[in-house]
Structures are given as C-alpha cells and as structure tokens.
C-alpha cells in the first residue's frame, strides 16, 4: 500500500505526466486552480472572512490527519477496517462548512470530514470500525445520520426526512436543508434513482452531494454510467452541477447555493464533486491491482491542500507560523483521538439484545438471560 500513500506536495513535473483515461478533466465549477490561482465563476461568487478562509485550511489539515490516524490505527490492529477519505478533504470540508446549524446530513461511510466540520464528536466512526458498536449516536441532536453501508440506502432516508422537513413547513430564510452524501458507484443502485424521483415529486429540500472519486472499489466510472451524475439529475428534472471536488472554495460555493435553494423551498438538486480517492477503497483493498502511479501522480498535482495553502500564502491570508500552528493543533486532535479509540469500552453480550426492540419480547428476554448466564458460566469455568 506504500505506493499510494499520502501525497507530498507535487513535483513540478508530475502534473504534465500521462493523463489516464479515467481522468479527462471535465467542465466544472472551479474557484481555485490546481496551481492555487483564484478564478471566478458566474453565479458562484464567494467572499468569506479571513478567519473563515483560514478555518477552511485548518479543516483540511485536521481532517487529513484524523483520517491518516484511521489508517494507522487499522494497521496497528486497533480498527478492523478504515475507509480513507484522503484526497476528498476539500469536497467534505467545503460542502460541510457551507451548511447551517439546522441543516441535516445523511452520510455514507466515508464522511469523517463532514462529521468533523459539523463540529461533532467523530468517535462514532471509530467505534464502528473498531467493532465495539454499529456506529450509533444521537443523530437527532447531531443532525448527522449514522454511517450507511448498504450503498445508496441512505439516499431514500434523506429524501423521506426532507419530505418531513417540508411537511413541517421548515422552509424559507430560516428553513432547513438536508444533504445526503453518496459515491459515484451509488448512482447505479435503484435506491439512488428512486430517491431522485421522490425528492423531485415531493419537491423535498434535499441536496444530493455525490463525491465522484472515480472509483467504486476497483471499478471506474465507465462501469457505472454513460454520462456523469450531474447530467443524471437533469433527467429527473433536478438541477445538476459539477464542481471541482478538490477545490474547497468551489465546493463551499456550490453547496451553499444548492442548500439555499433547498431551504427556500425551491427544491432538490445534485452536486457532483469531481475528486479522487488517493488511498485504496479501504485498508482491505489492494489498489495496485487496478490503477497505476501515473494516475496517482496526475491527482497528486491536484491535491486540495497544496493549492489552498499556496493561495492563502500568495494572498497574504496566512503565513508559515499559522500553518505550523495548524499542524500542532492537528497533532493534538490526533493524540486525543488515539487515546479515546484505544480506551473505547468493550461491548457486553447483553448489548446485542437491548436495542433490537423498544420493548423486548419475552422470548428474546429469555434468550438474552440464557446467553448472559451461559457466558458467565464459561467465565467462571475458565477462572476456576
């Protein structure tokens, strides 16, 4: 896995190397070029405070480090699996930061970055992949759903939730938007397409945020669709837009705009964030079987952090001291996380039964008692 490790700042030559077939640069909304040059895009003006601009950099770096810690913890046997988001930090931080407090997010399984920028405790992602629980959390308080593993299933939950928001009349300036995250592969599932139908027919305040990271495990976009997801949306009567997913500012701008539309009662839309998964699908995957260094180099030259840092520096918004402080802050978060992960309490056999039903049927209560007692008898036996 070493060969597809975290990207370093790209060598100057890298971006001129062979451009693999799967990465024909598409048309998309871009506000910051890979070289870090700020450009304009009609309809997507963006002007944040200096603090906000710096905050986005902090987000990108912290997310990258936390995610790297996921990979490290898995290698050290502390997690069963880790699905890295390396390379997708801009898509997640940009879109996540564009939301308001009352907005609700439905994630897939790779949205650590969104969870982080929403200001939430991210431990649930680690308890899930450590195997001590199934990722449960107070989703109502968090306004952030449980990680969803069955591909595209969460898109329907989000559509229903958004229908509920509309039913509650929670639209208008002070309204709520719902954002559902999914992958490029997910667009082939029936559920995703039904979600487009429902959102459209009921004019639900929903934003589909597709991270097109070019792969569904080993399969490229060519196996999932003929025309990209933002065009799919239009086939359902929903506005679709493609954005440079490695450009945090563009991701911010298009998401804010789509969420504003949703909130205002103008209905659902879809954002396709064109990005790249720099790591294998998960720690269990061997990506060298299906892609090569040239392709990785192409994308290293489009790294979301490198370009953003260049721009911050050029524009005088931040200096080396700031960058160092962010690194130090990230380091603290990482240490804290490590510590909390290692100290996650182990589940107990009764946990398996206790949350299945609101009121546990007698038969299951009996099964539970038996299981607990049997376990205890074994423990006794082995102590004896």
């Amino acid at each position: 896995m070493g060969s597809v490790d975290r990207p370093r700042p790209a060598k100057k030559t890298a971006k001129n190397r062979r451009k693999p077939a799967s990465t024909n640069e598409p048309e998309f909304v871009q506000l910051l070029t890979p070289e870090g040059k700020r450009v304009d895009h009609p309809g997507y003006e963006l002007s944040l405070t200096d603090e906000e601009y710096r905050g986005l950099y902090r987000d990108l770096v912290v997310i990258r480090e936390l995610d790297a810690q996921g990979t490290a913890l898995q290698r050290q046997g502390q997690l069963g699996l880790w699905p890295s988001l390396l390379g997708q930090e801009a898509a997640q931080a940009g879109s996540g930061r564009a939301l308001r407090e009352k907005d609700t997010v439905f994630p897939s399984y790779r949205e650590l970055g969104v969870q982080w920028v929403r200001g939430l405790d991210i431990i649930s992602a680690f308890s899930l992949f450590r195997g001590v629980d199934l990722g449960g959390r107070d989703t109502e308080a968090d306004r952030f759903g449980i990680y969803s593993i069955v591909i595209a299933s969460q898109t329907l939950h989000a559509a229903g939730y958004a229908m509920g928001v509309a039913k509650d009349g929670s639209v208008g300036e002070d309204g709520e938007a719902v954002v559902v995250y999914h992958g490029d592969g997910a667009t082939a599932e029936g559920d995703f397409n039904e979600a487009l139908i429902w959102a459209g027919v009921f004019n639900a305040p929903l934003v589909f945020f597709c991270q097109n990271n070019q792969y569904a495990i080993s399969e490229t976009n060519a196996r999932q669709f003929r025309v990209p997801p933002h065009q799919r949306a239009e086939g359902f009567g929903l506005p679709g837009i493609r954005v440079d997913g490695n450009d945090v500012l563009a991701c911010y701008a298009v998401t804010r705009s789509a969420a504003d539309r949703a909130r205002a009662g103008e209905g659902p839309s879809l954002i396709e964030a064109y990005t790249y998964r720099m790591q294998p699908h998960t720690t269990s995957d061997d990506a060298t079987r299906y892609r090569d260094e040239a392709e990785l180099d192409y994308w290293r030259a489009r790294d979301p952090i490198v370009r953003y840092r260049s721009w911050l520096t050029e524009s005088g918004l931040a200096d080396e001291e700031f960058f160092a402080s962010v690194d130090a802050e990230a380091e603290r978060h990482v240490l804290d996380l490590r510590d909390r992960v290692m100290n996650l309490p182990e589940p107990e056999i009764a946990d398996m039964f206790d949350s299945v039903y609101a009121d546990l049927p007698a038969e299951l209560r009996a099964e539970r008692a038996e299981a607990v007692a049997f376990q205890a008898s074994l423990d006794e036996g082995s102590e004896a």
Binding site: D133, L134, G135, G136, R137, D138, T139, E140, G145, I146, V150, S153, T155, L156, H157, A158, A159, G160, Y161, A162, M163, G164, V165, K167, D168, G190, D191, E194, A195, I197, W198, V201, D354, S355, V356, Y357, A358, D359, P361, A362, E363, L364
Partner: protein, 324 residues
C-alpha cells in the same frame, strides 16, 4: 358494538389513528384519491388531506425508505404495499434498514413504521397477488409481524401496531376483507402480541392465523361430527409468538396441527413444531403436523383450491395425528 367488514374495520381504525396522532401518515400506491385497490383507505385523503394520506410513486423501496426518513423526522408512517408479491423490491429497506436501525443506533432511533400488506390467496387473482411472505419477516430480527383474522382484531390491531415504537409488518388476509363481524368500538380485548383461543377443545389443537383461522374453525365444526373436540388458536402475532397459550393447549391435548397458506418448508409451522417439540416434549402424543401450501410457487388461480389448506386436509391431518 357494530357490524362491519374487515375493510371497514381497518378503515375506521386508520381514521382513528389519523385523528388521534397528527404525526401519523398514510402512504402507498393509490391510497389517496382511489382509497386503495381494496378501499381500505377510502375517503381518508378527502378528510385528512394529501399531506397526510400520500399517493406515492410506484416504487416500493422508495415507500419504505422514505418512510424511514419520515420516521426519523418524527412522523409515524403507515405504508401500504399494494399486494404481497410486490413487497420484494422493498426487501433491503425492510430487512436491512427498517428492521435494524434501532439496534444500529444503540436504541436511540425509533422507527414507528407500520407496513400494511394484503396477503394470501383465495381471490382468484393472477401471479404475485396471492402470496404469504410472513416467513421472510418473522426470520428477520427487529421486525414485529402480526395478522388479523376478523374485523374486530383488524380494527384494534392496526391501532395498536401504529401506537408502538417498533416497526410492524401488518398482514391483512385479503380473502377475508369482505367478511363481516362484530367490532367493539370501545375497547380492545387483547394486546397486539397475544394469541387467542378462539375455540376451546380437548382432542387436538389447531394453530392458525389470518386467513386460515376460518378454515380451522370450519374444520373444528366439521370435526364434531367425527367425534372430535378440536381447540383452535388464532396466533395473531407471528413475531413475537405468544407461546404460553400454545404450550398450555398442547399440554392439554397432546396433539397439534399448524395450518398456513405459505409453503411448508420454513413456513411458520416449522418454527412452531420445532419449538413446541422442544418445550413440550413429554406432552406430545404425536408429532406436531403441518397443513400448508405446497413447496411450489403459488399456482394459477384455477388450481388455488387445491393448493390452499382446506377442511379436508386439516381433518386428514387430525386423523393422522390421532393415529399416533
């Protein structure tokens, strides 16, 4: 007390749910303007509006999937799947999502969703309109599964199902839809998950549910002539099963026959026979027998009378049990 058909009893039950809980919703294909293909939701959209009684897109996975989302938002959806054979496109949302969310969330998310499904055969319909899918749901932890055999139960059980905080698959025996019965409009006689001894007896126990309760009762009546005094139990709740009345009956009669329309292999009879054999081993005078649909796809309607459990097959099973 009022006499009404099962359709009417369900309709008035649903009406009460909508009246009493403003978060309750009805959703499904053709449930609004048309009132459902069986008219179970007749006039409800007219009276409660299309925000509460929702004609949905023709997409079953979407029906259950969005109901989950609505429930997360605090609503209490009652979904209709138009016919038994059309529930399968929604299977993932039912068994991997609806059934498991509460557990996944560590108990923090309740999904009070009721999934109404007209089920079973005997109405002369084409393929996919006569199936009995209960085993699929009973095998799935996290779901509750119930079925009614008469208007009074229909009226109350739908309200009880909607009142709980767990997802419930609510199976309606479509060939009993037009059968009339007394409905006590004041109070429910039983809890949602209680079985009922609908005919006491001593020779042997007939265990039935939904559409076969009537078959069992008719068999018991006919059995009198042959000198049998058959006890009939209406299971009512398939998951969880209310075991105690079954065990008590078996301890008394020593013999049991389970009657259902679903195919025999891994039908409810399998679980009932396996469990009762284990729990009442020394009370059994004969093995628990099963009168069920055959292990074939539901046949063309001109053959359904041969497929469905009937009085002759039930009494034949009783005879075989008594031969032991």
């Amino acid at each position: 007390m009022a006499t009404m058909t099962m359709v009417k009893a369900l309709n008035s039950g649903l009406r009460r749910i909508l009246e009493e809980n403003e978060k309750a919703l009805i959703m499904g294909e053709d449930v609004g303007l048309l009132g459902g293909v069986f008219r179970v939701t007749d006039a409800l959209q007219k009276d409660f509006g299309s925000e509460r009684v929702i004609d949905t897109p023709l997409a079953e996975s979407g029906i259950i999937g969005t109901a989950i989302g609505l429930a997360m938002r605090g609503y209490r959806p009652i979904c209709e799947i138009q016919f038994d054979g059309f529930v399968y496109p929604a299977f993932d949302q039912l068994v991997s999502q609806l059934a498991k969310f509460r557990n996944r969330s560590g108990g923090l998310i309740s999904l009070p969703v009721v999934v109404r499904i007209p089920f079973g055969g005997g109405i002369g319909a084409v393929e996919h309109h006569s199936e009995s899918p209960e085993s699929y749901f009973v095998h799935t932890a996290g779901l509750k599964v119930v079925t009614c055999s008469n208007p009074n139960d229909a009226h109350w059980m739908i309200q009880q199902a909607a009142a709980g905080d767990d997802p419930v698959v609510f199976l309606e025996p479509k060939r009993r839809y037009q059968a009339k019965g007394e409905v006590d409009t004041e109070r429910a006689a039983l809890g949602l998950h209680q079985a009922a001894v609908v005919r006491p007896g001593s020779t042997a126990t007939l265990i039935a549910y939904g559409p076969t309760v009537d078959v069992a009762l008719a068999s018991a009546e006919a059995g009198v002539e042959e000198g049998h005094d058959l006890e009939v139990i209406d299971l009512r709740s398939l998951s969880p099963i209310d075991w105690e009345p079954l065990r008590a009956s078996l301890r008394k009669t020593g013999r049991a026959v389970v009657v259902h329309e679903a195919p025999r292999t891994l039908g409810m009879g399998a679980e009932i026979a396996a469990s009762l054999s284990e729990e009442c081993f020394y009370s059994l005078e004969a093995p628990v027998l099963r009168v069920a649909g055959y292990d074939v796809p539901y046949p063309a309607s001109r053959l359904e009378d041969d497929y469905l459990p009937n009085l002759d097959r039930v009494l034949d099973a009783v005879d075989r049990s008594l031969e032991h």
